[in-house]
C-alpha cells in the first residue's frame, strides 16, 4: 500500500485550521459562499470577505498579484472571495521556495508567473462552456441574432 499523498494531507490540514478558526465544519455566509478560505468571523457570525467589504463600504474588487508579490508586480483585478481562494492555493499548493522566492531567482519568478496564470485559468474553467450554453439556449428561444435585441455592453 502506498503511503498517503502528503499533498492530500496538507490540504486537509489547512482546511482544518479554517474550521478551527471559524469554529464550525459547515461554514457559510448568508450570501451562499461556502469556501472556508473566503470566510471570516466565528460561528454563528460568519461572513465572506465580499459581504464584509460591502458592509464596511469598501470595494469588493481587489488586486491580485498573479505570480505572488515577491515574484512579479503584475496585478489583475479579482473579486474578494476568489482572490482569497487563489491566495490560499498559492500558499498551500505551490512550492514554498517558488511562492516566497527570497533570492529573487528569475527561473522561479517565471515558474510563479506560469503557475499564477494557470491558477487564473483554473478559476475561469467552465465559464466559456457556460457562456456557449447560454448563447445556444437563447438562440433556440429568441433566434439566431437574439443578442441584437439587448443592450449588451461591448
Amino acid at each position: 500500500m502506498k503511503k498517503i499523498d502528503k499533498k492530500v494531507f496538507e490540504r486537509h490540514k489547512r482546511l482544518e485550521i479554517d474550521y478551527r478558526r471559524l469554529q464550525t465544519r459547515n461554514p457559510a455566509c448568508p450570501c451562499g459562499e461556502r469556501n472556508p478560505a473566503a470566510l471570516t468571523g466565528i460561528f454563528p457570525n460568519i461572513i465572506c470577505y465580499e459581504c464584509l467589504a460591502k458592509k464596511e463600504g469598501r470595494s469588493t474588487i481587489e488586486q491580485n498579484h498573479v505570480a505572488g508579490r515577491h515574484n512579479n508586480p503584475i496585478k489583475t483585478p479579482l473579486p474578494g472571495n476568489p482572490h482569497r481562494i487563489i491566495t490560499r492555493e498559492q500558499e498551500t499548493d505551490w512550492p514554498t521556495e517558488t511562492f516566497r522566492n527570497p533570492g529573487k531567482n528569475t527561473f522561479l519568478q517565471d515558474a510563479a508567473m506560469i503557475r499564477g496564470t494557470l491558477l487564473l485559468n483554473k478559476l475561469l474553467k467552465g465559464i466559456p462552456e457556460r457562456i456557449e450554453w447560454l448563447n445556444k439556449h437563447m438562440q433556440e428561444k429568441e433566434g439566431e441574432d437574439w443578442w441584437k435585441n439587448y443592450p449588451i455592453p461591448k
Binding site: M1, K2, I4, F9, H12, K13, Y19, I42
Partner: protein
C-alpha cells in the same frame, strides 16, 4: 446467636468511637459558581487513526511493532506497521518488510509514524481510536513527565520528532478502571484558537479527539470488556484472536494477529458509534463520553437543563457543607452471618430512578432556583410530620414528596447510618447503627423516617431546613429519548426518570416477545437497548449529582472546609475535589437516603410478616423465614411484602416495586423457567455472599456469587484445569453467576463445607494453583503507583524503565513468615515497626508470575524480598469465608448467626471528603490511608477537643505524641487548652483511634487464639497441648480461665502448635 429486636439491641453497651462526616472543601478565592460555557466544541473531522502496539513481555514492555489504519470516513488511506528499529533484529525487520510487501501494507519507523501520521491526524482534526490507549501512548512516547494543571495526577507523554520539536505532548489522566482522560497540551506558537482569543472570544484550545473503546464500551454497554470479549459481544466480522507469541521472535502469524487487532478495534468502534448516533445526543461528542455518567449528562444537556452550579441562586458554600454532611451511600450489610438459610432474593425496580420519581426530584433538576426555609415554622412542620408519619403513610406516593428537608437532630440512641472506622479498620465504612452524640448532627429527613420505621423512636429534631423548587429554567427543549420517535420527552411536562423506565419496560417487553418468536437477533438488539437505558437512568438519577473528581497534588494545598457546623475553616490537603458538571449535593443525598428508606420499609415489613433477612446490598434483600415454615407459606409471606410496594410503582407497567430476581426461579437446560425453586443464601460479610440451590445429593448449585475481594487476583488456573470433584456451573459462570471459574470453585468449596456442617474449615487443598504465590496484576496508572518503581528505574535508560500504564505485579507478604525470617528492627526514624512497615512486595511485570516473584522488592524501601515470605493463594484466601463484618456486633471471624447493631457513642467528628477515585488501587495494594481525604476536625470544637483527648486517652501522652507525629510543644499547648493547628487535633484523634484499634485487634486476636486453644485442648487434652506448646499446664489453665494475662512469649508459644 438469637436475633434481637431493635429495642433490645438499643440497650446494648455503648462503644466510644469517632465518627466521620462528609464535608465540602473549596479553594479560597476560587469562584464556586460556574457559568455555562458559550461555545460547543468543534466536532472532529472524519479522519481516524486506529492503532495498537505490540510489546516485549518483560518489565519495560518496550514497543516492538505497531499496527495502524488511517481512515477518512470509511476509506482506508493507509494501513500498515510501524516499528522501533532498536527492538527488531535484522531478520525480523526483513520478515516485516516482506510481509508488508506481500500484503500491500505500508511500513514506517516509529519516528516517521509519529511525525507524519500521528501528528498529521491531530492536524486534520481526526480522532484517535484504540483500546486502552494510555498504554499505547506510553509505548510510543520518548519520555514522560507528570501532567500539570487540570490534568494533575496524570502523565504527559512527549514524542520523539527529530528536528521538529513543536508538536504538543499528550496528557493522560487515569480516572478509574474503565476510563481515562486524554488531552493535547497547547501547541507552541500561534493557533486559530489563540488568534480568536486575542480578539476577545473565549474559545477553548484545541485538545484533540480521543476515543478509548474500553471506556466507550463501558459507558454504552455497561460492561467492562477486554477487546476479545467486546468483539464477541458485538459480533464483529473480525474477532480478536488469542496468541502466545507475545515477546517471541516475530512471525508472519503474529503480524497477521497484530493487523487483525486494529481491524477488530475499528469494527467495534463502528458498531458503538452507530449505537451512540441512535441516542441522538447532538450536544455531546462521542469522544466526550468516557463513563456511564457521561450518558446521563449528555441527555440533560440535550434537553437544555442547566447545571445547578451555573444558576445564580445556588447555595452558599456553608450550606453545601451542611448538605454534604448528610450524605451516606448505599447500605451493604449482613444480618445472618455464615449460616445457610432458605431465601427469596428480591430487589427494587430501578431503585434510584424510582426514588427520584417518588420524591419528585425532576422538579428540582429543572428548577430555576431552590427556595430554602429554615425558620421555626419549618422546624415545627417537620417535627409534626415526623410525629405523625407511620409505615402505612409511605405506601402513599404523596408522603415521599414531603421528604424535601434536612434536619439537625440530637442523636440519643437513634438508628442512623454511621460512618466510622469500625473494628480497627482504617477504612471508613457506613453501617446502620445506634448513635448517641453530644453534638447535634445534620441528617436527611428520609434518614429520620428510616430510624422511626425501624425502631419506632423518632429522633429529636432541633432544627430543619425545607427546600422547594421555584420557577423553571429557560431554554428547556423536548428530545426523543434514545432517538426513539415513539418516546418524546418534554422536560417541562414529563418526569424524565419515569419516561426512561417506561421506555425501558416497553423495550424489555418487545425483547421477550422477540425471544419467544425465536428472533434472537432482534432480541439481542433490544436487550442492548434496554441495558443502555438502564445505564442512562442510573447515571442521570444519582451518579452525576455527586460527581466529585479528585485531583492529587504533590504539595498540600489550602482549602476551606465547610462541615456540618456551617462555618468554614482552613485546612491543607493533597487531594482536591472538583465538582462535576451536574453536581447537586442536595439531590444526591436525598436520592440515596430515599433508597435506604425503601430498604428499611422492606425490612420492617419482613419483621411484621414473621420474616427476616440474610443480607442487603443497596437495593436488594435476601429474605428468609424467621421460623420454620413451608416453602408455599414462605412464598405467600414474601408476596405480601412485595404487594405492599405495588401502590408505589410510578410506572405505566403495574407491578410491585419490589421484584423477585431471576435466581429464585428454576433452571431447565440452562434457561430460567417461571417456577420458583428453593434458594439458599450464605453470607460471610457485606458483598461476600452466594445464592444457591441444593441438588438431590446435597451439593450446591451456585446461582449467584460475589467476586468481591477476589477480582484483583490473577486466576491461579485455567477453566479447563478446574477440579473434577466440583460440579460444573449450571449456567455461564461469568455472565450469569458473576464470577470466574476459579472463584466459582472457591465458593463451591465454601458452600460445600457449610452444607457439611463445618463452615469454618474449607478444603482448598485440591484447587490447582493454590500453592502458587498469590499475585495481582495492575497498571501503573498514577504517578504514585509508578513511583514504587523509582528505585528499580534508577539509572536505566527510558526504554528499559517501567513506564506509565505498564503492568506491575503485586504479591502478598506474610506477617508471620516475616517475623521468623528476620527480627523486627528499628527503622531510621527510631520508630518501631508496626503493621504498616511490613513490606508490600511488588515486582516488574513478567508473563511468568511465579518467576516474577524472584524479583520481588518492597515498594517503599526497594529492598529485595525473599520468596519465603510470600503468601500463596491458599494462604491469602484461607480466611475468605471468615471475613468479619466489623461494623456490627457478632461479626467476628468465627461468629455466625445474627449480627447486631453497635451502639456508638460519638467521641469526635472528623470531616472527610470522597476517597480518591482509586478504589481498585486500594484493593490491589492494601488500604492506603492517604487516599481518604481527611479535612480534620473543625477548630470550633477544638477547645473542648483537647481536654477530651487527653482525659479520655488510655495511652501515655508520650506514645500518643509519637504516634501522631506531634511535637511536644504542640502537645503541651493542647494540654494547656491553647489553640493548636487545625490538623493537629485530627492527627491526634486519628493516632488515638489507631492505637485503640490496634489494642482492640490484639484483644480480638487473643480471644480467637484462646478459643482455638480451648478447642484443641478439648480434643487432645490440656496436658498434651501444654507439652506441645512448651508451656506450664498450670499457667495455661490460668490463661484459659482468664486468671492470668498471657505475655508475648506465652502467645508465641500458644501459636506454635496451632
Amino acid at each position: 446467636m438469637e436475633e434481637l429486636s431493635y429495642s433490645e439491641v438499643n440497650s446494648s453497651s455503648l462503644e466510644p468511637r469517632p465518627i466521620a462526616i462528609r464535608a465540602f472543601a473549596w479553594p479560597p478565592k476560587k469562584k464556586f459558581r460556574k457559568p455555562e460555557k458559550r461555545w460547543n466544541p468543534l466536532p472532529p473531522s472524519n479522519w481516524y487513526l486506529v492503532f495498537d502496539s505490540e510489546t516485549f513481555t518483560d518489565a519495560a514492555q518496550q514497543l516492538r511493532v505497531g499496527t495502524y489504519q488511517l481512515l477518512e470516513g470509511n476509506m482506508v488511506h493507509e494501513e500498515g506497521f510501524f516499528y522501533d528499529p532498536q527492538s527488531l533484529t535484522a531478520e525480523e525487520l526483513s520478515l516485516l518488510e516482506s510481509y508488508a510487501e506481500s500484503h500491500d501494507k505500508t511500513i514506517r519507523t516509529l519516528e516517521e509514524f509519529i511525525r507524519e501520521i500521528f501528528f498529521g491526524v491531530f492536524e486534520v482534526g481526526g480522532t484517535f481510536l484504540g483500546f486502552n490507549m494510555g498504554f499505547d501512548f506510553s509505548r510510543l512516547a520518548a519520555s514522560h513527565t507528570l501532567a500539570r494543571g487540570n490534568m494533575q495526577g496524570g502523565f504527559s507523554f512527549i514524542f520523539s520528532l527529530g528536528e521538529d520539536s513543536r508538536q504538543p505532548a499528550i496528557r493522560v489522566k487515569h480516572l478509574n478502571a474503565k476510563a481515562s482522560m486524554f488531552r493535547l497540551t497547547v501547541r507552541p506558537g500561534r493557533s486559530p484558537e489563540k488568534r480568536n482569543q486575542e480578539k476577545g472570544v473565549e474559545i477553548p484550545h484545541y485538545r484533540g479527539y480521543f476515543v478509548d473503546l474500553k471506556s466507550l464500551a463501558a459507558a454504552l454497554l455497561g460492561r467492562t470488556d477486554s477487546l476479545a470479549s467486546l468483539t464477541d459481544f458485538l459480533d464483529t466480522k473480525h474477532k480478536k484472536v488469542e496468541t502466545d507469541e507475545h515477546g517471541r521472535t516475530l512471525t508472519r502469524q503474529y503480524l497477521k494477529y497484530a493487523l487483525n487487532d486494529v481491524q477488530a478495534t475499528w469494527e467495534c468502534f463502528e458498531i458503538l458509534r452507530s449505537k451512540y448516533d441512535n441516542l441522538n445526543l447532538s450536544q455531546t461528542l462521542i469522544s466526550q463520553i468516557s463513563s456511564e455518567a457521561g450518558l446521563g449528562k449528555a441527555n440533560l444537556k440535550e434537553m437544555g437543563v442547566k447545571p445547578w452550579r451555573s444558576l445564580p441562586q445556588a447555595f452558599s458554600l456553608e450550606r453545601i457543607g451542611i448538605i454534604l454532611g448528610t450524605y451516606g451511600g448505599g447500605r451493604s450489610e449482613v444480618n445472618l452471618r455464615r449460616t445457610i438459610a432458605q431465601t427469596l432474593y428480591c430487589d427494587f425496580l430501578s431503585t434510584y430512578p424510582s426514588t427520584c420519581v417518588l420524591m419528585g426530584i425532576w422538579q428540582f433538576v429543572i428548577a430555576q432556583m431552590i427556595e430554602c426555609r429554615d425558620d421555626d415554622a419549618a422546624t415545627e412542620e417537620v417535627r409534626h410530620f415526623l410525629d405523625k408519619v407511620s409505615l402505612e403513610d409511605f405506601q402513599k406516593p404523596e408522603t415521599w414528596q414531603k421528604l424535601h428537608a434536612i434536619v439537625l437532630v440530637q442523636a440519643e440512641g437513634d438508628l442512623l447510618p454511621v460512618r466510622a472506622p469500625y473494628g480497627g479498620e482504617r477504612t471508613l465504612t457506613l453501617g446502620l447503627n445506634y448513635l448517641t452524640s453530644h453534638q447535634p448532627l445534620w441528617i436527611t429527613l428520609a434518614d429520620c423516617c428510616e430510624a422511626k420505621i425501624l425502631t419506632g423512636k423518632t429522633p429529636k429534631v432541633l432544627k430543619a431546613i425545607m427546600f422547594r423548587p421555584n420557577g423553571r429554567q429557560r431554554g428547556l427543549k423536548s428530545i426523543l429519548l434514545a432517538g426513539n420517535p415513539a418516546y418524546p420527552i418534554d422536560p417541562k411536562k414529563d418526569d424524565f426518570y419515569k419516561r426512561l423506565i417506561d421506555l425501558r419496560n416497553e423495550i424489555k417487553k418487545s425483547k421477550d416477545k422477540a425471544e419467544k418468536d425465536g428472533n434472537q437477533e432482534l432480541a439481542f438488539k433490544l436487550d442492548a437497548e434496554q441495558k443502555n437505558l438502564k445505564i442512562v437512568a442510573n447515571s442521570a438519577a444519582y451518579g452525576i449529582f455527586l460527581e466529585l473528581n479528585v485531583t492529587r497534588y504533590e504539595k498540600k494545598r489550602k482549602v476551606i472546609c465547610y462541615g456540618s457546623e456551617g462555618e468554614g475553616f482552613p485546612t491543607w490537603v493533597h487531594n482536591i475535589e472538583e465538582p462535576g458538571r451536574y453536581f447537586h449535593p442536595l439531590l444526591g443525598t436525598w436520592i440515596t437516603a430515599g433508597a435506604r428508606l425503601l430498604l428499611a420499609l422492606a425490612q420492617r415489613l419482613c419483621e411484621e410478616s414473621d420474616l427476616t433477612w440474610i443480607f442487603a446490598d443497596t437495593d436488594s434483600l435476601a429474605i428468609t423465614p424467621k421460623q420454620e415454615m413451608t416453602f408455599e407459606a414462605f412464598i405467600q409471606k414474601v408476596e405480601k411484602v412485595r404487594e405492599w410496594f405495588a401502590p408505589l410503582n410510578p410506572y405505566s407497567k403495574k407491578e410491585s416495586l419490589l421484584k423477585l430476581e431471576d435466581v429464585n426461579f428454576k433452571l431447565e437446560n440452562g434457561k430460567i423457567t417461571s417456577d420458583l425453586e428453593p434458594l439458599f443464601a450464605f453470607a460471610v460479610s457485606a458483598k461476600r455472599t452466594a445464592l444457591f440451590n441444593i441438588d438431590g445429593q446435597g451439593c450446591p448449585i451456585i446461582r449467584k456469587a460475589s467476586a468481591h475481594a477476589l477480582g484483583h487476583l490473577l486466576r491461579p488456573y485455567k477453566e479447563k484445569e478446574a477440579p473434577k470433584t466440583i460440579l460444573p456451573p449450571a449456567v455461564k459462570v461469568k455472565d450469569k453467576i458473576g464470577v470466574e471459574r476459579w472463584q466459582y470453585d472457591l465458593w463451591y468449596r465454601i458452600l460445600e463445607a457449610a452444607l457439611e456442617g463445618h463452615s469454618h474449615q474449607v478444603k482448598l487443598d485440591d484447587l490447582p494453583g493454590f500453592k502458587k504465590f498469590a499475585v495481582s496484576q495492575y497498571a501503573a496508572t498514577t504517578p504514585k503507583l509508578l513511583s514504587w518503581f523509582d528505585k528499580y528505574n534508577e539509572g536505566k535508560p527510558h526504554r528499559e524503565q517501567v513506564r506509565p500504564f505498564g503492568f506491575l505485579l503485586s504479591f502478598f507478604a506474610d506477617k508471620k513468615k516475616i517475623s521468623t525470617e528476620e527480627e523486627p528492627s528499628e527503622n531510621t526514624e527510631g520508630k518501631s515497626e508496626s503493621f504498616d512497615d511490613f513490606p508490600r512486595p511488588v515486582a516488574p511485570f513478567n508473563k511468568d508470575t511465579q518467576a516474577a516473584a524472584e524479583k520481588c522488592f518492597d515498594r517503599e524501601t526497594g529492598k529485595a524480598i525473599p520468596n519465603a515470605v510470600l503468601k500463596t493463594y491458599r494462604e491469602v484466601l484461607s480466611q475468605y469465608h471468615l471475613h468479619p463484618e466489623k461494623k456490627f456486633l457478632n461479626g467476628n471471624f468465627l461468629d455466625s448467626g445474627f449480627t447486631q447493631h453497635r451502639h456508638i457513642l460519638e467521641t469526635g467528628r472528623e470531616y472527610i471528603g470522597k476517597e480518591a477515585n482509586r478504589w481498585e488501587e486500594r484493593l490491589y495494594t492494601g488500604e492506603d490511608p492517604e487516599e481518604q481525604i481527611h479535612y480534620g476536625t473543625s477548630p470550633f470544637s477544638q477547645e473542648t477537643a483537647g481536654k477530651e483527648i487527653l482525659e479520655g486517652s488510655s495511652t501515655s501522652h508520650r506514645a500518643l505524641a509519637r504516634e501522631s507525629q506531634t511535637s511536644r510543644n504542640e502537645f503541651s499547648r493542647l494540654r494547656r487548652g491553647q489553640k493548636v493547628k487545625a490538623g493537629t487535633v485530627a492527627r491526634i484523634r486519628q493516632a488515638q483511634s489507631r492505637i485503640a484499634a490496634e489494642q482492640r485487634q490484639d484483644i480480638e486476636y487473643l480471644q480467637q487464639l484462646l478459643e482455638k486453644v480451648q478447642a484443641r485442648c478439648k480434643e487432645t487434652g490440656l496436658r498434651q497441648f501444654s507439652k506441645e506448646a512448651g508451656i506450664d499446664p498450670g499457667n495455661l489453665s490460668k490463661i484459659l480461665h482468664g486468671m492470668r494475662k498471657p505475655s508475648f512469649a506465652d502467645v508465641a508459644k500458644l501459636e506454635k502448635p496451632l
